[in-house]
Subunit: 351 residues, 4 copies
């Protein structure tokens, strides 16, 4: 039986190369709490990849990376601007607010998961710096690839960054699907981040083939000292840190991470093409990375689920909701490094 699991990229296991590298580091003593040679090696590799010295903080979850990034920008009555559908805003149970001692997320609208630059500007302007009642802006955060499976172009990132800079706000990128976006744009990590004005990056490995490997990357070395304490206080400093380092070591070696992302994206394209060609389904919008949003009749969706397919209902954005028929729903399908072509083909056939 061929599985048809498109629930999430975190339903996959780990890539064998990563698993094998973990096993290779099972023996022997190394110093704890992120001070081992392997930790250093991975940090250096990331500096190479980003074409400059970066400070790297391994953490256990993407939520931790995001919440710590925002915590480091904290101000009293602080407000971080994000897309309305951003993971920080809808899927982290208040972790960003908790880590930031009650700072607030201000949702910004924009089509298909991307903040509209003009709306962002307008939202920030609602909080003039000399008016104490509403609070004060503290950061802007964007998600790349977005929760809608789209990808900010370099120019779009720059547009957001320039608004952030004009208000002296740091810019964070939630890169839970960083690799998928990167290969989609066919650009370099440096171009997609600090060269465009990104100050802090949640660099995700888990969804793209690791067991549990997330890193918070700081492009501003002035924040490094405080982040060590923020991470430790947040219970995110792992004693056997090498187990995260070993994953990243294999992940980054020989550009495995890019290959895995290319595979996931190509599976998404295959899925999208099949859906677009089908009589009973249509694409909600063109996927940019490894998430495909599909409009299906509800009975078709139910039938697919009966046949073993797993995927999620998704709340339709307002502009799309109007164009859905009463018996139609929006569904999200996610591919990963582990998705096989025959899974996709069987799903298309089952449609």
């Amino acid at each position: 039986m061929i599985p048809m699991i498109f629930a999430s990229d975190n339903w996959a296991g780990a890539h064998p190369a990563i698993s094998e590298n973990l096993a290779a580091h099972v023996h022997g003593y190394v110093s704890a709490y992120g001070t081992s040679e392997l930790d250093r090696k991975v940090e250096e590799r990331l500096s190479e990849i980003f074409e400059r010295d970066v400070a790297v903080f391994f953490v256990g979850t993407g939520t931790a990376a995001n919440a710590l990034a925002l915590a480091s920008t904290n101000r009293a009555g602080g407000i971080a601007f994000c897309h309305r559908e951003a993971h920080v805003n809808v899927d982290e149970c208040g972790a960003p607010e908790f880590f930031s001692h009650g700072a607030r997320l201000c949702p910004v609208d924009g089509a298909r998961g991307k903040m509209d630059a003009a709306r962002l500007e307008a939202e920030i302007r609602r909080f003039p710096p000399d008016v104490v009642h509403g609070g004060q802006p503290m950061a802007v955060t964007l998600t790349q690839a977005t929760e809608s499976g789209t990808v900010y172009s370099l120019a779009e990132i720059e547009a957001v960054a320039s608004i952030a800079k004009s208000h002296k706000l740091p810019l964070h990128m939630d890169g839970a699907r960083f690799a998928n976006a990167l290969v989609s744009l066919d650009t370099t990590p440096a171009e997609m981040t600090w060269k465009r004005g990104v100050d802090l990056l949640s660099f995700g490995g888990t969804k793209n083939g690791c067991w549990c490997a997330e890193a918070l990357i700081l492009f501003d070395p002035a924040k490094t000292h405080e982040m060590h304490f923020l991470r430790k206080r947040a219970a995110q400093l792992f004693s056997k840190s090498r187990f995260i380092a070993a994953q990243f070591d294999a992940y980054l070696k020989g550009d495995l991470w890019l290959d895995l992302a290319r595979h996931a994206n190509s599976m998404a394209r295959r899925l999208a093409e099949g859906i677009a060609a089908s009589a009973v389904s249509r694409l909600a919008w063109t996927p940019g990375a490894n998430e495909v949003f599909v409009i299906l009749k509800r009975d078709v969706a139910a039938r697919l689920e009966e046949q073993g397919a797993v995927f999620y209902d998704w709340p339709a954005p307002q502009d799309l909701a109007a164009s859905l028929a009463a018996d139609e729903g929006l569904y999200r399908l996610v591919t990963s490094f582990a998705t096989r072509a025959d899974e996709v083909d069987q799903f298309i056939a089952a449609c």
Copy 2:
């Protein structure tokens, strides 16, 4: 060259059986965020081990388990009572306070890492429930085995618990070295915890042969619902939770965890006996688990370090400090599942 690494049990890697089980679960899709069959299986196994239904929350670090446990007992102006040298008090960078929104730890004295019951009672009484100025007691937490490598007897746990209960305070046990204490007492998990009055347990696997496997165990089901949100908000809900479950699965299978702890403890005893027999060193006190505290002349310690031995200086408790010669220091040596007899013997010989 034989290593002589006694720095900490977290300098070791992982036991092969645990590593192999991880690799065995590398393939295939399973549902995320702690909902897989493997997660359920481990929870059931822990209920078996504890001889009652328990709620199990996997987290990434021992600090997370401790801080979440205390957070679940939170009150405004709350005060948690712990030994002065407890890990929560000296080694967690304020995580318990942060997770508990500013609750305070009140250190309690007592010889060799164990809270003195009378001192605990006296400290709690400093905060009468109807006086608002000083804050209000919220929890008691003890460490088993202690940071001094000693072990509370069952009667001692019960004494602490009965004080906690008489003030209606929940009792938490930091079991980062739970297995080491358990085999040292030759008792059962149930006897050492809820049968003695423990309400929440940080059940550690990392120091005893896992990569990264910690669980917060609640004996009071009324706290379960809130803990799900506390853990998620603290960024401690892992998407690929099976990677923790797989470790615990192997760890608990066929009582591997007890065997590993017995080995570590026996290596500590071997070390202790060698030290006691040596002309140039003496035991600071009798070890109860896998930590040995030794008094060495500083030049002897320096020479051992030159020969490759790794171990830490330790701040001497006040009563001991008085009995140290000017050229002597207190040192901590920790054994683990990975410690070999020849390491111990070489260290003794090097003395």
Copy 3:
């Protein structure tokens, strides 16, 4: 020169009867921190007024009362539902989130400052109790009178309360302008609060003729113990608490508070009638208490300000914005216990 100050009811001073009662309590020793006879007397008077035993907590600001009320309902990842324009949401600089350790406010839409009951229900349903990712509902808070100067009818309060109850959520009322709403509805404090399902009340005196007198009133005695610690920890327990008690003592004596509110409301009606009758201005909507929202041409507004009138621009709600001419703006005018009829008349004349 007659002033035309309609900026806010907090630009007024204090009513002479209140000021005189303060002076009457200037001498002599009384016990501190809210334990004096006068404190007790005011608490009893409030129990009389509310027709049941209530727990009363004096605090210094309305923001403190609101933030403490929400803090007492706190859950991990908690979400409090309020109107989008509520004071807690737009004018308290994140105090509710800070006091609640990062709990979140979820804005609910509805015309003229009142939450639409169906929208409230829909927003709460976005957070099913068994899904951890989005957080969990913790409270509903409504403002009476609203920030738009309207008043919830008793049936409207009950509708909101019944939704809150059906989700087991406590209901808070921000009564910064409680008296103005009460006399507008011509009902009793009990009818407008606990008889309709309100659990916690911010009972404001400052805007209605006190210097600084706010009280948090709890209808659920089970919350009283914890609130003492919450208030103290929030630095809101005043040592010379009698100075707040003395204000409330005079405020509540002989129903002065109701007389003051009736006066402010009648001045608002006089203002509204004059504006409605004027050729150059119109009412944005009918005022329910002591705030009047007016549509003026911008040059008329500027001319009035030159003549000494003080009032604020107000962001137009979306439905109204569409009906404004390009040269028109929305303005808020607030009356108070201190507003004189000749001020109102002169303002109308100046229009």
Copy 4:
């Protein structure tokens, strides 16, 4: 009947000049939230008094001033050093920790309420800046006059400040009894604060004759912007701020504040002399300001209380406890601006 109330200086009411000035500002409209002319005038007066530009933040309680001061120095895992018996450590129900998001207070010992400089240095050194586990120093706070009624000399303040500076830590002074200490030292506000290295000051008026008038004073203008938001978020920005300003206006006029403090101190001296001369009582130590610590037989204390005297039992510091007889206790007597000589004399006679 002559009262004998020595419970606390906050049992007194308000000085008539302050009460009258409040009444004088009862009428008329002024702009709210600390922006009135009277607010400005008081700020300028304080700049005059401190011989430099200072930023002034009125707040409602001394606890608020202290907690906001420490919050402004906040770091992750931060530790503020204070005397073991400091008000922040024993009487503020965790407000400093709450406002600082879980920062910790580290008690420093020292005789009679004053931190011992060498102990302070030793405590700070326990937290080396590159070790993440224990947390990081963030501030030093001293109390002037101390909770033991003693006063740091200028040289002693400087000694503490120089240690703080050498660790790059800001120095806060809790001046709940600032005036009492100032007149005791017969120095100037500038000399006792910023000229000695104090960066933030809680400037108390309440205990010395105001109803409710506390100010947080910042000597470092770089912190001013953030403090506006910290204060507002903490619900400590009063809408009718003029009611605090009016108190300070009268308090500072013609050096009333110094006269009131001189009176309170002289009453304390009169009390101390009487006690020293009595056969049944003795001074625990020489008072420096307006608090007198007395050793009485418990039955004498009970008899005095029966005769109407009010004063508190006080926990004896360890060094003193040893010298107390079994039937003796330590008691605190506080004088204030309102204490009359005949009260003191009657108390002495009653002894």
